[in-house]
């Protein structure tokens, strides 16, 4: 890795380049292809119609997450559509010889939780999955992006994608996070600052003291929401935190292989001489816990702030802001703290890992969910659930009046029975506050950290979690 001006992104991209295509795109080899039930049945069908087979079944791994009920229901599921999708995936992976982490395996979970957890996700890899939150895997120093179903077909057939090379923006987060301020608050602040379309055409490299001080699970949260800022891909350079986290995981290299891999992982990280298309410094000192108030993740404020007024917004943002406040039923200029909630959801590929649950349990311990609030905790994977139960976190949540569920995507996008009803307001640790996102066409989502969700559940309204810690 002699060229010191190259970033990790450049090195990984160049290494995986098969050839340049006539239109200027790159034919990029995909080192790891993760698949799930929702975006793949049509791709396997198209493959059959083209008379093709899965080219690298050993580099393809499957799980189920989006449509699973989380209330312990067993097959066949009550929803015939959900049952049909799982049956299709089972048939497809069996025919192609693809390893499948189903519920019986003990390793099932949200695809972006189990990839890193099993050590499948490693630094220097290219990773694709038919899901926009594939950017999550960048936390380990991989170049990972979400793709559509036709592109899933491309990867199944060729283990390659045709992609336009993005530019690279380094986002350097300085300062120190206060107590009660988490990775979720950092990424929401980044999206608020750069906008929901600011990252289109870019890969984001997250760096600086705040990112370096984060544990792996916090970095996963940051990279997860890159797509919410418009960036298809976001990553953190691998370091000792990464290596320590990977060691001993099921699919991570072992013994001397691990040492060899670690040497390579160190080499590919961006050095001080790396060149970027853009650099953005962000000072996280004094950052407050964030709460979204609108219908896209960029529409968020610190919990100690008041909601913006459309007349103060830039002219091009005014209409969006008015639409957002009207949909949410919130008053311009009002404080966000104190907003009543109906539902509290702790889960999703953004914030359903062990450390997320620990922080939420710290708040919930000894408390009681406010009357009239429906609260649920949905661990990101079966392994997260096991680890949390071993620590007694499930008991803490249950004692406080939370529902403790089984692993899946659940109320993040409500493809399963977990959903909002009518205009319910949900304090949610997920990633998207789009209109109707949580299953009710008029449902309302307030994005925040898991600890903030737990605090809102206890008080029945949006509250600064720092008051409870």
């Amino acid at each position: 890795m002699s060229d010191a001006t190259k970033s990790l992104f450049d090195r990984v991209w160049d290494l995986h380049t098969v050839r340049e295509l006539p239109g200027g795109e790159t034919q990029l080899f995909i080192g790891l292809h993760l698949i799930h039930e929702v975006t793949t049945p049509q791709a396997f069908e198209a493959l059959r119609e083209m008379g093709l087979r899965v080219r690298f079944p050993s580099r393809t791994f499957a799980t189920v997450d989006h449509i699973l009920p989380t209330d312990g229901a067993r097959r066949p599921y009550a929803d015939p559509l959900a049952e049909g999708m799982i049956a299709a995936l089972e048939r497809n992976v069996a025919e192609a010889g693809i390893e499948f982490f189903d519920q019986a395996s003990g390793h099932q979970g949200i695809v972006h939780v189990i990839g890193p957890e099993l050590g499948l996700t490693q630094p220097g890899m290219t990773i694709a999955c038919g899901d926009s939150h594939t950017s999550t895997h960048g936390a380990l120093g991989a170049v990972a992006f979400g793709i559509g179903t036709t592109q899933v077909r491309d990867v199944l057939a060729t283990q390659c994608l045709s992609l336009t090379r993005p530019r690279v923006r380094r986002i350097e987060v300085t300062g120190r996070l206060g107590a009660g301020v988490y990775a979720k608050d950092v990424i929401l602040a980044i999206i608020r600052r750069l906008g929901v379309k600011g990252g289109v055409g870019y890969a984001y490299e997250y760096a600086g003291p705040v990112i370096e001080a984060m544990g792996m699970e916090e970095r996963l949260t940051v990279c997860n929401m890159s797509i919410e800022g418009g960036a298809r891909c976001g990553y953190v350079n691998p370091d000792d935190t990464t290596f320590a986290w990977l060691r001993g995981r099921r699919y991570a290299p072992r013994g001397e292989d691990f040492e060899r891999a670690r040497a390579w992982w160190r080499e590919i990280a961006s050095g001080p001489g790396a060149r970027y298309d853009d650099r953005v410094p962000i000072d996280a000192s004094g950052l407050a816990p964030a709460v979204s108030f609108g219908i896209n993740p960029g529409q968020n404020v610190g919990v100690d702030e008041r909601l913006p007024r459309p007349e103060d917004a830039a002219p091009e943002d005014r209409a969006s802001l008015e639409e957002a406040l009207a949909y949410m039923g919130l008053d311009p200029g009002a404080p966000i703290a104190g907003t009543p909630i109906d539902v509290a959801f702790i889960g999703s590929c953004t914030n359903a890992r062990l450390t997320d649950l620990r922080e939420a349990a710290r708040v919930a311990r000894g408390g009681r969910v406010a009357p009239g609030v429906r609260a649920l905790v949905v661990p990101g994977s079966q392994a997260v659930a096991r680890d949390a139960e071993a620590e007694g976190l499930d008991a803490v949540f249950r004692a406080a009046g939370f529902d403790w569920r089984s692993a899946g995507c659940s109320m993040c996008l409500a493809m399963n029975p977990d959903r909002l009803v009518g205009r319910e307001v949900c304090a949610s640790s997920s990633n998207r506050n789009f209109k109707g996102r949580q299953g009710s066409p008029t449902g309302r989502t307030l994005l925040m950290s898991p600890a903030m969700v737990a605090a809102a559940a206890l008080r029945g309204r949006v509250v600064d979690v720092r008051e409870l810690l």
Partner: protein, 199 residues
């Protein structure tokens, strides 16, 4: 389609247009997640913008009789943001749309459009406003997107449009079936795999 089979190129999309104003229209709105519980894309067209249309009670552009039969959809900035679900352009395609004109498009959405042979072209803000107003004023008037000339012609006159060069070339040449193109690399794929330290 069999591997290697070429499609006919898309040089021109002409027809009536439908105007859908507003920025950051996400794919959850284009096709709500509950309609994704299917193993094919068939029948998605009727669910396009299902919740928005329900709430608009007949006043949604997709239900506006003036825009009936439109084959071009004119949208704002960052259209198709959010989820990677190809169900979004699939639903719009199955509703009859053959091209998208807008301020900007989210990256995964734009890629999904190209994969389906649907152009997603952008206009300068002033030209976009003029196009939207022109279509609103006289919806029956034909709008023509010309990918060879990279222009859109409407009642408002002819304005330049932009598209990523690669996507444009694939559409013009009818080579948007990327699987066929990628397969042409042959053994170079395995050769690339062989030099990866982790495989």
């Amino acid at each position: 389609m069999r591997a290697g089979e070429a499609s006919k190129g898309v040089e021109r999309v002409a027809g009536r247009a439908c105007v859908l104003r507003g920025d950051d229209v996400d794919t959850d709105r284009i096709i709500p997640a509950r309609y994704l519980r299917i193993v094919s894309f068939e029948g998605l067209g009727e669910h396009a913008f299902a919740d928005d249309r329900e709430q608009a009670k007949g006043n949604h552009p997709l239900d506006d009789a003036r825009f009936a039969g439109a084959s071009l959809l004119v949208v704002g900035r960052n259209f198709g943001c959010g989820s990677s679900r190809e169900h979004a352009p699939q639903a719009l395609m199955r509703r009859g749309f053959r091209a998208f004109l807008g301020g900007s498009f989210a990256e995964i959405f734009a890629g999904n459009c190209t994969a389906l042979g649907l152009p997603a072209a952008t206009l300068e803000p002033r030209d976009l406003t003029a196009l939207m107003d022109a279509v609103d004023l006289e919806p029956a008037r034909e709008v023509v997107l010309d990918l060879a000339a990279m222009t859109v012609t409407s009642r408002a006159g002819t304005a330049p449009v932009r598209m990523p060069a690669g996507a444009r070339q694939q559409l013009l040449a009818g080579t948007w079936n990327a699987t066929a193109v990628l397969l042409e690399a042959g053994g170079a794929i395995e050769k690339t795999a062989a030099r990866l330290p982790y495989l």
